[in-house]
Symmetry: C2
Subunit: 271 residues, 2 copies
Amino acid sequence: MQYKQNSEGIKVVKIGGNIVDNPEALSSFLIDFQKLEGKKILVHGGGVMASKMAINLGIKTTMIEGRRVTDAETLKLVTMVYAGWINKNIVALLQKDGCNAIGLSGVDANCIPATKRSTCPVDFGFVGDTTPNNVNTTFINDLLEKDIVPVFCAITHDEKGTLLNTNADTVAYTLSVALSQIAKTTLYYCFEKEGVLKNVDDPNSIFLSLTKEEYQNYQEQKIIAGGMIPKLFNSFNAIDGGVSEVLIMHAKNILSQKGTRLTRSHETIAK
Amino acid sequence: MQYKQNSEGIKVVKIGGNIVDNPEALSSFLIDFQKLEGKKILVHGGGVMASKMAINLGIKTTMIEGRRVTDAETLKLVTMVYAGWINKNIVALLQKDGCNAIGLSGVDANCIPATKRSTCPVDFGFVGDTTPNNVNTTFINDLLEKDIVPVFCAITHDEKGTLLNTNADTVAYTLSVALSQIAKTTLYYCFEKEGVLKNVDDPNSIFLSLTKEEYQNYQEQKIIAGGMIPKLFNSFNAIDGGVSEVLIMHAKNILSQKGTRLTRSHETIAK
C-alpha cells in the first residue's frame, strides 16, 4: 500500500482498566510509553474504576456478556470517570515528563462519531458502535504531525447530542484501522497478562504468534475461549482492515514487545 | 496594537455553573453561542453540579471567601464533573448542530499551565493560579484557524503531574489576556443576572457601562459589593492586560449583548 502521509508509522496502544486502576503500574507504563518511537496514540479503558465509583454513588452495575449496560446514570458516571478523572490524570502524568499529550473523547473535534446500538436483541442502553471510515483522521493526523500525543477515552457520540459509551478495545480497533489508511499502523493491546495463553492456568503458555486461521482452529478446539475472544475478534478485524500487526501483551512489556504477535500470515511474521 | 495573526478578533465567553446546571438554559445558550460570528472560545464553570455530586458521594464541600477548598477527593470530583460530564456534554450539544467543538482542560496540549497556590494564608488545597504569558496560544490559535471551537473547563495542572482546580472566571481572564496578544479579544462573562447592578435588590438597575475609575468609586461607596467584586477585578485586569472590552451579562443576552460593558475609558465605549 502507498501511504499518502505519515510514512514513519503510527502506534495505537490500548491499556485496560486494571492498569489504569493501579497508580504504580500506570506510572511505570506511561514512562515506557513515552519511549516508544514515532507517532503514537494511547487509548485507555477504566471499567474497574467506573465499577468502584458506581458503588460509591449507589448505581447498580449490570454486565451482559462482559459488556456494561449503560443507562442514563451510568453514562454520566462513565463519562465522568473515563473522560474526566482517568483521561486528564494520564495527560497530566505524560505532560510531567514533557510528552505533549492531549486528552480526547470521540466527541471532541468529532474524532469518533458512533451509532447507538440497536436495542434488539439486547438493550445495552447508551452504547455506541463505531466505523473506521467515520473517524476524523485529518484532525488526528494534524496532532501527530505536531508531535502531540492523543490520549483517547472510550466515550463517543451519535452526532445528535448524545454521548455514548464504547468498548475501549473497539475504539483502539476503530482508530487503528482508520489510521492504517494514511500510515503503516500497529495496534498494541496491553493488559495484565503476558499474551494469549494456550493454557489459561499456565501464565507462561503464551502463543508467540497467531494467524487468523490458527486462531479459528484453536477457538473451535476451545483452546482459546472466554474473555480473549472479543479481543482477538477485534485484532483480526483490525488486520483485515489494514493494520499491519497487532500485539497482545502485558503492559510492562510495551518496549520489549514480548507477547502474542498477530498477523495476516506467517509470511508477514517472517518479514 | 498591531496583531500578528487572527485580525478578525476572538471572543472568549464564560458561562457559570447555574446555566450549566439548567439543561434548558444551557441548550438555549449554546444555540445562541453558535451564532456568534468569528473565532470563539467557551469557558464553563460547574460549581453547582460539583456541589450536588459532592453530596451524592458524601464529600464535604468547604468554601472560603466563596472559593472551593480542593482536597484530593474534591480534586477527583471536580475533574470528573467539569472535565468529564459537563465538558463532553457541552461539546456533544455543539457538535449536534454542526459546530466543531473540542473539549479541553488546561492540561491538554499544555494549554494552561498553572502554579499550585501557596498554602499561606489560606490552604485552598489543589488550586491553581494561572499566568496569561504561560498559555499555549499557538495551539489554541491553530484550532481557531481551523474553525474548531475550544470549550475549556477550569481544570489546569502544575506541569509536575498534578491536576489543579482553577476558578472558571480566572481561566476566561487568562485565556482572553493571552489571546489579546495575537488578536483583538473580547471577554464575555455570562451568568444569571442582567449585568452589574446599582441596587442588588433591583434587577433592572444595570450599569450600562463602567470604567475602572468608576468601578473603584462605586466600590469605595459600597454600591458594588459582594460576589461581583472578583468578577470585576478579573474584568479590569483583563482590560489592563490587553483585552478590548469585557461584557457582563445574562447568558440569554449573548447575541443582543445587553448588559454591562466595561472598557478602559468612556472614549473606548464611544468608539
